[in-house]
Symmetry: C2
Subunit: 314 residues, 2 copies
């Protein structure tokens, strides 16, 4: 069994290779070609922590994967990252463990950001004068980096709750020539941006329906549990196109949960990302559509990004 | 993170220490002190294989565990054991991985056999003239070995489908002075034995109600999935005491599933092993009771046996 630490994984990683596998994985998922049992969840009082176990298998493949992902919010005091997670790959022919990737959640961050890039390929409006990013954390930064490959726009509004976090966020992008516009007013951001990515742990809406102009796309990344919410349910209900990485999961505990629970949208109103990537569904029908993608995170993404690392080792 | 292979685990392992932790774990489980999310299942066509992922956490403990257990029935051709499974222990304070036990299912076999021994402590009838074992595999052998600590009886009837397997099974026990009686007739076995353990992958009843005399105990180990069955449902329905490692699991996909589905028993008819070990419920009320224990296997057993190994390392 190969054991790789985070530095080795980061050195090996090839985003274009991972992107291709992610695309294939999402398409297979939406075609019913993935075994993906329900997620296992734990909560830990001691360490203010939680943990989830996601497992998946692309049918016919040589490997399956098990991911243990954790968030322990008191870890800074021990000099540890909050996510001490890992991904294990097993042979689907013998069951033998093949690789242990001690990535501390790094691959989860990357697979989410790369999936955001896949969304941009099929849902971005033709004219993006400014990109909007809600959130100032690691995922917000990764999403903006990955968008650079798809959208030529380098004018970026960033919303955050603290001036300090905003300044820290914009520095590396300013250094690379981006025109960065920090703000603490999400409505101001919405008034300027045609491509918005929300990456916050919010549990109340940050964007309202009447702030969003026709021809805007929003990717909502933050909501991955009951009660989390970044977009007002009326904004979700008003969208012309809704796309989800997993229809069943997003309507249960992704961003779409609120509009779905209120009966404002039904399962038939949501396309699955894999079906859009495969050309079976449409991610954007017209330039002035309001489109929303909900990324709640599914195991096949972990399977595929872990496989991309293992393949580079061989 | 400590990584231990099967030989190291076998050398370190102390059954009495593991037994104590198993007892505590089962008691905690029945007292509602264990987080144990639903089991994840996979099936693999390529390797005639299956895999399940069991995770558990004894609330307040320092560790939680994730077990990946597999059965790939074509592995002999690669010189590999059919179970390539492992158990991982994580800190419940920081989420950090602490130990990877590459036990190839050995600990699962042991925890099941040790739990069989705990059952004997609280359910065995006062007079056991002969022990009966159904099955000739590894688990059948481990169960018989573990019973030696509780039952003085060394006369053992063994039922199996092949003479060859029966002869292979009895040899090491004959060498240790056991009086071993191989048979291919389960009814003959039942007519002689007061303590019976069934350890087969059967999906049709091996024992009938009218073969079982008053004062007999049966531990059913084999049924751990829908459709598996070792005891006729009328035998289960006729038992004076029913005990399950997990009431909810055994009535869903353990030995009790058939009598439960037929409405012949209800949840109120089944005691949980932890409650019996804790003295809150009774495992045997009278010498001539027919008692049945159903062991379908639960994650807390994996957690506890893995902890027992880790503790011996410190």
């Amino acid at each position: 069994m190969k054991v790789l630490g985070k530095p080795e994984i980061m050195a090996l990683f090839r985003p274009e290779h991972a992107l291709q596998l992610l695309r294939e994985g999402l398409i297979a998922y939406s075609a019913g070609q993935v075994q993906q049992p329900p997620v296992q969840h734990f909560g830990f009082q001691q360490g203010q922590g939680d943990c989830c176990i996601k497992s998946g298998y692309l049918i016919g493949d040589d490997q399956f994967a098990v991911k243990v992902s954790s968030g322990f919010y008191g870890n800074a005091q021990y000099g540890l990252a909050s996510n001490q997670g890992l991904i294990m790959l097993f042979s689907a022919v013998t069951g033998a463990p093949q690789a242990l990737l001690l990535d501390e959640g790094w691959l989860t961050g990357l697979r989410t950001a790369l999936t955001g890039r896949l969304v941009a390929e099929v849902m971005a409006p033709p004219r993006v004068a400014a990109i909007g990013i809600l959130g100032t954390g690691m995922q917000a930064s990764l999403q903006l980096e990955q968008l650079a490959s798809v959208l030529p726009c380098r004018t970026v509004w960033v919303w955050g709750q603290s001036q300090q976090a905003l300044q820290r966020f914009i520095q590396p992008f300013v250094a690379r020539g981006y025109d960065m516009r920090p703000t603490q007013d999400a409505r101001e951001l919405a008034s300027h941006c045609q491509y918005i990515v929300s990456c916050t742990p919010s549990s109340s809406p940050l964007l309202q329906a009447d702030w969003i102009a026709p021809g805007t796309h929003i990717t909502a990344v933050g909501a991955d549990a009951e009660g989390k919410q970044e977009l007002d349910a009326s904004l979700v209900a008003a969208a012309d196109v809704l796309v989800a990485d997993s229809v069943v999961q997003c309507t249960a505990f992704g961003e779409l949960q609120h509009a779905f629970a209120a009966g404002a949208i039904g399962l038939q109103d949501v396309h699955e990302l894999g079906a859009v990537l495969d050309g079976r569904q449409c991610g954007r029908r017209a330039a002035d559509d309001i489109t929303i993608a909900d990324l709640s995170g599914i195991a096949i993404q972990d399977v595929q990004i872990a496989k991309s690392v293992l393949q580079l080792l061989d």
